[in-house]
């Protein structure tokens, strides 16, 4: 790791001040992605501002038809929360399927979405459920949040405080994991509310994306069969040793159908 100054603020205001004062500050929450990046010397922040223990950023509330999860709530806390298991079981299941126990105990929902790894699970939930990302200065709509490969609408010193999910009628997340890393080769979240159906795909492309054609087909008939014959193009999808773009395109269809089927049974 290159040299940096570690800072732990006692309040959100102090965190903001520290970020503002830093030449090149980075926020640290669970560190499950940031620490490996620093170890590989792929980033050289001047300051690391550890917001991982700010109580104001932690916790889960369910009311007014929404589930709101504090940014530094760990995946394990989400997975275990009875109120989430009741309100949106798909969110708890998604959290339970992230990485392994050690990652889930340390990694946070806010860190995951701010990092915007193309193979992370949370972005699928954020987009499919049409969540709102709350920050220290504004609310950002899910569709506007992810802007590119590991890029978001966040300003450099902007702090995600919570993610607020509308509670859907039904939702499910299905992922096909990378055999080595267990990240999503392809993950599909489908969510149905009275107003609409949204389907978001992670892992397959440089950033999470929706498939409007599939959403329209599901609006007509919310069944796996409604997706038969709907293929997404392979062009532009990610390619690595574990999956070609063609394979990923195919998996999007498979995971989407399975996600819809899982909605039916939940």
């Amino acid at each position: 790791m290159h040299r940096f100054t570690y800072r732990r603020p006692a309040s959100l205001a102090e965190a903001k001040a520290m970020m503002a004062a830093a030449a090149d500050g980075r926020l640290l929450a669970g560190g499950q992605t940031l620490i490996p990046i620093l170890k590989q010397r792929l980033a050289q922040p001047s300051d690391l501002v550890d917001i991982g223990r700010l109580a104001v950023l932690k916790g889960i509330t369910v009311d007014g038809g929404r589930v709101t999860i504090g940014a530094v709530t760990t995946h394990a806390e989400v997975a275990a929360a009875p109120e989430i298991r009741r309100a949106v079981p798909a969110l708890a299941a998604l959290a339970e399927g992230i990485g392994d126990a050690q990652v889930r105990n340390r990694g946070t929902i806010g860190g995951s979405i701010a990092n915007a790894d193309p193979a992370a699970d949370w972005p699928a939930a954020v987009v499919a459920l049409d969540a709102t990302i709350r920050t220290d200065r504004r609310d950002i709509a899910a569709d506007a949040f992810f802007t590119g490969l590991m890029e978001t609408a966040l300003e450099a010193d902007e702090i995600v405080t919570a993610i607020s999910f509308p509670i859907p009628d039904t939702a499910a997340y299905l992922k096909f994991p990378n055999p080595a890393s267990r990240y999503a080769v392809v993950g599909v979240m489908v969510a149905r509310t009275t107003a609409k159906i949204r389907l978001a795909v992670t892992g397959a492309g440089p950033l999470v994306f929706r498939v409007p054609e599939m959403e329209r087909a599901l609006a007509r008939s919310f069944t796996p069969a409604a997706l038969d014959g709907l293929a997404i193009p392979a062009e532009g999808l990610n390619e690595d040793i574990h999956a070609s773009p063609e394979y990923r395109a195919h998996l999007v269809g498979v995971m989407a159908r399975r996600a819809v089927a899982a909605c039916g049974t939940s």
Binding site: M1, R3, F4, T5, Y6, R8, L28, G31, Q32, I35, P36, L38, K39, L48, D50, G52, R53, A76, G99, D100, A101, Q102, V103, N105, R106, S181, R182
Partner: protein, 159 residues
């Protein structure tokens, strides 16, 4: 280590004992445990956050010491394998590892034991599938996992 910029004193509570460690903010918990405190039970297997050989318990839950900055662990209760027992006594999980032949080269063993210990606290009688899932963040190259899984299932059943 060069210079003093970024040097802080970190108060860590490890195995019930307070330690005050002068650490550059970059130091991971694993480095402090092994290099400063001589607690070498946590192993540096990959230093990339995958193998699980560096697993310790943070407030009773397994985490990777190689992906935790030491400074970020202040205020948490840290348990390493050295803190599970006193003297030659073994915990029921450790005893089950002996009985089932779950140890081979031993390098993954401390991490396995800690993850298993945390699992049994949360889920006292896990089945085989639950144990395999819970241990999926701890790699072992020697055992094929069979005996480790048997040991953890048995340790649960014994309660």
């Amino acid at each position: 280590m060069r210079g003093d910029e970024g040097m802080t004193t970190v108060a860590l509570r490890i195995n019930g004992v307070e330690h005050s460690v002068a650490a550059d903010g970059r130091r991971t918990l694993l480095e402090v445990l092994r290099d400063e405190l001589g607690l070498t039970g946590a192993k540096r297997g990959c230093n990339q956050g995958v193998c699980g050989a560096c697993t310790v318990l943070l407030d009773g839950r397994p985490v990777r010491a190689c992906l935790s900055l030491a400074a970020a662990c202040a205020g948490h209760e840290i348990t390493t394998v050295e803190g599970l027992t006193e003297g030659n006594e073994l915990t029921p999980v450790q005893q089950a590892f002996v009985e089932h032949g779950a140890v081979q080269c031993g390098f993954c063993t401390p991490g396995m034991v800690l993850t298993a210990t945390a699992l049994l606290k949360e889920n006292p009688k896990p089945n085989v599938a639950e144990v395999r899932t819970a241990l999926s963040g701890n790699l072992c190259r020697c055992s094929g996992y069979r005996k480790i899984v048997d040991a953890v299932v048995a340790a649960g059943g014994a309660r």
